[in-house]
């Protein structure tokens, strides 16, 4: 019976007039609100104590080992990393940083690529004009296209150098064999991404590069109409693997659309999935491979233990 209780409480003041009550409230406003406001503004001086802040950052920020670890572990983007790593693993001369640079370039390419998509139509009539429009009318359009192009080339180089480093440090060895394979697939998809993008400006350069490239598909054994045993299996220019790649027997409107869809949607999705696996396995296989202590002949003769044996 809350209502009755309420009445009972107000019983004493029940007969006080309306004017009196308003006066009281005004008095309260004058004293209480400024003091409350003061208190709350005072509280804002330490924003790390506010509810908004603590809801975003779940740990303190003092320079303690615990907070350094939490800074990495409680952040969705950073928790890709372990909290602590081998002291020599940060040496540039060992890692060359090429894997990270490759990933960063992929992010740059996604960003510039999405912006480019706003100005581009994958059709025979529009495509080339869109590039001219980008180069001459769109603010920073030229810079955008240049960046996308050069980042793509740089990514190919970075992937090669990354692979080279991984080979030279023997990092594909047990237990990282599978991750090396994922990496090889990522290399292939990087090249395919770059290659499918080559056709999109619909200029002579892209057209003939893709013509040369896909002409090789004609010669696919069994599946191409000019390949060994292709004609015997009924392959013609209109049903072989090249036809499937181009959506026609020549590089034309369908090829442009197919290249566009593979370039912007198909391959990036597959490559992203493989990247997730790649990064995940780096962690699961015991972090980056080294720099590990050197192994001597006497130890090489012994059978190896699990993932820990490779690194520190």
């Amino acid at each position: 019976m809350p209502e009755e209780n309420g009445n009972g409480k107000n019983g004493k003041n029940g007969r006080v007039g309306l004017a009196e009550r308003v006066k009281e409230d005004l008095q309260a406003l004058k004293t209480e609100i400024p003091s409350k406001a003061k208190e709350q503004i005072e509280g804002l001086k330490d924003p790390t104590k506010t509810q908004v802040y603590t809801s975003i950052f779940r740990h303190k920020h003092d320079d303690t080992p615990r907070n350094r670890a939490l800074g990495v572990l409680s952040n969705v983007f950073l928790h890709l990393h372990p909290a602590k790593i081998n002291r020599d693993a940060v040496r540039y001369s060992y890692t060359w940083g090429m894997g990270g640079i490759t990933f960063y370039l992929f992010v740059v390419l996604t960003f510039t690529g999405v912006l480019l998509m706003f100005y581009y139509h994958p059709t025979k009539v529009q495509a080339f004009r869109d590039i001219l429009y980008l180069e001459h009318d769109v603010p920073f359009g030229k810079l955008l296209r240049n960046m996308h192009r050069w980042a793509a080339h740089l990514m190919v180089i970075a992937v090669w150098l990354h692979m080279f480093r991984v080979f030279l440090t023997g990092s594909y060895k047990k237990p990282r064999e599978f991750n090396w394979n994922i990496g090889v697939l990522l290399l292939v998809f990087t090249l395919l991404l770059s290659f499918t993008g080559y056709l999109l400006p619909d200029d002579q350069l892209g057209f003939w590069a893709v013509t040369v490239g896909t002409n090789m598909a004609r010669a696919t054994p069994l599946l191409g109409h000019e390949g060994p045993f292709g004609p015997q299996l009924g392959m013609t220019p209109y049903n072989d693997v090249r036809f499937g790649l181009l959506g026609g027997s020549i590089v034309d409107a369908n090829a442009l659309l197919r290249a566009y869809i593979w370039h912007c949607i198909g391959i990036p999705i597959v490559a992203s999935v493989l990247m997730i696996v790649h990064f995940w396995r780096v962690r699961k296989d015991g972090g980056i491979s080294g720099p590990a202590p050197v192994m001597l002949q006497s130890e090489a003769d012994k059978p190896r233990r699990g993932p820990k044996a490779a690194g520190e």
Partner: protein
Amino acid sequence: MDWHQLWEIVSAPDNVPIVALIPLLAFYIYLAWRQAHANDQLIDQLEADPALAKTHYRKAWPFKPGWQKEIHVWPFLLRIEFLAAIIVTIVLMVWSITLNAPLEEPANPNLTMNPAKAPWYFLGLQEMLVYFDPWIAGVVMPTLIIIGLMVIPYIDTNPKGSGYYTWKQRRFAISTFLFGFIVLWVSMIVIGTIIRGPGWMWFWPGVTWDHNRLVFEVNRDLPDIFGITGRTAKAIFGAIVMGIYFVGAWIGMHKLITLTHFNKKIYKRMSLLQYSIMQVFLILMLLLPVKILLRHVFRIKYIWITPWFNI
């Protein structure tokens, strides 16, 4: 010496990556070699002194007692990553402001580009077209390269050299990879980029690209040299020659694999399947330089001629 022609090739915006790749590779090979050398010296020292090996940090870098073996990712790794991202962004920005992405005339199927070149990273494959038919150069070889790379971890049974640079502990593996990557892949790309001109003809650097140049190469097939003319005879002859190549290369490779005492030990660790797979890939890889030599020295086009395919 036509410097203008050379400059035109080297400064073509799409060729910049390959021009940049050469000094980059030189730098990183140097960086790797320097560390490998330091590690090899350390290994020699520790092999000679087992007592030291028990207490040593086992890395060429300094380590003092009391130093932590592990450090926090935040900030020691993240600040490097952040810096790397900034540097890459600056490089990209400067590159994009100073150099424009190429744009040719609109695509025109009736006007063939001469030379019609693939993107620079595929020029190695395009260069292979000189020596092999498209089904090998364009389809079989790329597939073999991919599969060959993928089998590496499963056929390399050498437990040493995992996680550090070394040369002495992995001579065979590293020289094979360098041969495949530098000699067969990168240098073929360099040839395709800088040396191949109109009609995919060979123009030494500094020679003017002559679009009307004609080269009368008399390429012969191997069976022709031996006066074999019949179709069936050619097919059988080619098969025999290829068989001889395979057996010869197999034996030669085996000699190479078991050359040193250490490599013999590695060989003993390999299963028969691992060994056979390695042999097949090495022999197929060797086919490319062999074919290049046959073409340039003896002007031989095909070795094996059948009604369905030629090698």
